[in-house]
Point group: C2
Chain length 422, copies 2
């Protein structure tokens, strides 16, 4: 409907209600477009010659026009690029699935290359039968499929001290959502036979960092997967090929990649990654540990600082993601005025437990500035808090578990900035 | 559990029931593995040095070990590689999502390159207001998300004349399943205003073939999407970037790529692609047309001719895919003896309407030959027929809509062949 840009008229018509009124404009506009637009009136190269043959794409990649939709890292955020973070370009994605190629991942000593032939998984500690599994052994156990979000505990971590990073990708992109297939860890633990005194497991990776993490046996026997497929195909190298742990609802650091050992113990190991890191520094200087579950959260992905409004006023699609480590998303509210008033968004597509849920709100933008916020409510009744509500209890110096409400300031010119509202 | 390969004992134990009996073997085996296996006893390179840094993978690709998991084409199947087929490697995939990079696609004059800036979609014919939409216009309409299978009408087409192609990929791989996001076609048609005499739409692509297809207006107003995202990101070039049609449950040829025009008419256009092609030649020489809906079907993806059994007897995971253009899969039965006896498989993960459903059957293989079959039953009560049942009515010379039961002959040595059983 190219006429409305030219005429500067409202596009409300095409959202359904005002069809009759908008009709005349649209028809006139179309006539103009038809006579003036060479893309309509002339035969284009792509309509009169051959394109790529099938053998051009045994394994396809995104078209070059989309080369900006990639993972990005922030150099100063970690000491080294081998202990850094690849942020998902969530501002440019839609739906709920994150393609593996641009899905958030972090590693602590680089992404290692480990073949299926060389792969071994040991289960030892307080078990009746210590075991070593080859990759092939694992493929012979019953499998299950779990779509789950994997979010870094530090996602949004820079927001404790105020709006510091521009870009939805950098602010909230330490998250992905994939359909994982693998063996329930429960089956492997049953095979080894956990002794009555076994109360915790400790999962270790085969990379140099080992990234060892403890979790209660109850979780390990519940919904944890020893996964080898993501979104239907083998795990990518940087996602832990050939085998990673999937720990639905828990912080991403516990989703141990290149999984090499599960130890069963009577208590937690208290490793580096669960004491000096991945604990929550409180206002009074003490730190909370064992805060594994990711509380309900949401973020508007578009418009956002990397996805400004280019089309002017009129119909505007507001979209974002919501998730909860405690179950399903029940509702997402959106505010255009920084939290003064709220309206419910549409939950689009499937709503799955411990997985990303997509929401949309379709508005007729009048072209004035907005303070966009979203607020997730999960099936437990938990309501996503404001950042200030979190700071009251946890202070300003924490790094982890900031699920506070994000604010995007949309200016009249359509540009968007990361801000805080009082 | 590397001991069992060495000892040659049954692996039944590790599937749960025989834990006590299997325990002693497992423990002894583990001890052997621990002292003999350098992968357990020695520190490996990957555990003592850095791997890839984050900037190595702005957009990741599969690891080189998986380079065989790619789309493949069959040279003699079509006249030219610009009118050919990229088959999904379904024998090597799991779960339900097909990654875009290896998802089935066909084109009739090559995959064209069409930018969002150059993109136009025209709606004309029997409408109140002929319209031309830019890509940006489309992004301002309300969106929805639909996970759906896209299956070529000719998938399994070589099977009419008997088991002719080896490989699950080539026999049944003209199918993919992706999470699509886009605008309901209904909203665009409402915007244009369909006149009372408009009963059919005709969808055309911007490529040289145009691949025009008619469909009843009822379907167009039901669940058809004008899609621009697949599995969360922009459509790949070969999947119709920037915009394709998604027609859940209908044959893949109607999912017009590089969508450039929707015409509204009082009758079907009867184009080349719906008369000389994509009609069903019957026994008596007449042809059925308008057979768009893909009936319920299933196929075992592993073991299969490209996925033989390498691990010998004992626990074996049998897995496959089932789908129906008429709704949800209700049940999948698996036979090990060529259809003499059947047992129900597990439906794993979500069961969605008009989308791929994954099934699993875990057996203790005794090492003797098997004739593996699967049979899908959908929510309408429809039961997937045998090939012979189809041939009785449709003869042998058809190309399209062969949803007959597939048979894989598993030999005692684990190799698998495509066969037919009487």
């Amino acid at each position: 409907m190219s006429e409305t840009d030219e005429a500067g008229t409202s596009r409300r018509a095409f959202l359904g209600a005002g069809l009759a009124a908008g009709g005349a404009v649209a028809t006139a506009g179309f006539a103009r477009a038809q006579t003036a637009d060479p893309l309509i009136t002339e035969v284009q190269d792509w309509a009169s010659s051959f394109g790529d043959a099938v053998d051009a794409t045994p394994y396809g990649m995104p078209i070059h026009y989309e080369s900006h939709v990639v993972r990005r890292n922030v150099e100063w955020l970690t000491e080294s690029a081998v202990s850094s973070i690849n942020f998902t370009p969530i501002h440019a994605l839609e739906g709920t699935i994150t393609p593996q190629g641009c899905a958030f991942e972090r590693h602590h000593s680089g992404a290692i290359e480990l073949s299926k032939q060389d792969y071994r998984l040991m289960i030892n500690g307080l078990v009746e039968r210590p075991l070593v599994f080859t990759y092939e052994d694992l493929t012979r156990f019953p499998r299950t499929i779990t779509t789950a979000f994997c979010e870094c505990a530090a996602n949004g971590g820079m927001e404790w001290g105020g709006a510091q990073l521009e870009g939805c990708q950098f602010t909230q992109g330490m998250i992905h959502n994939m359909e994982y297939t693998g063996v329930p860890l429960r089956l492997l633990l049953e095979e080894a036979g956990v002794k009555p005194e076994g109360k915790w497991i400790y999962a270790e990776g085969a990379d140099a960092s080992s990234n060892g993490r403890s979790m209660p046996l109850e979780k390990a026997l519940d919904d944890v997967l020893v996964a080898f497929f993501a979104n239907g195909e083998a795990l990518r190298k940087e996602h832990g090929y050939p085998v990673r742990l999937v720990v639905p609802g828990f912080e991403g650091n516990m989703w141990v990649k290149w999984l090499r050992r599960i130890g069963v113990y009577d208590q937690a190991v208290e490793s580096r990654e669960e004491t000096s890191k991945y604990t929550d520094l409180m206002k009074d200087g003490r730190a909370r540990k064992w805060t594994w579950v990711m509380d309900a959260k949401s973020v508007i992905t578009s418009p956002s600082p990397q996805a400004p409004i280019r089309h002017g006023k009129g119909p505007l699609v507001i979209t974002g993601l919501a998730w909860s480590g405690n179950g399903k998303i029940d509702r997402v509210d959106v505010s255009l005025d920084g939290g003064v008033s709220w309206q419910p968004a549409r939950l689009t597509g499937d709503v799955k437990s411990k997985a990303l849920t997509r929401f949309h709100l379709d508005i007729d933008w009048d072209g004035s500035e907005m303070y966009l916020q979203s607020r997730a409510i999960d099936e437990t009744g938990y309501v996503q808090p404001t950042k200030d509500q979190l700071r009251e209890i946890r202070g300003l110096n924490n790094v982890y578990h900031n699920n506070g409400i994000q604010t995007w300031w949309v200016r009249a010119d359509g540009e968007v900035e990361n801000v805080e509202v009082a």
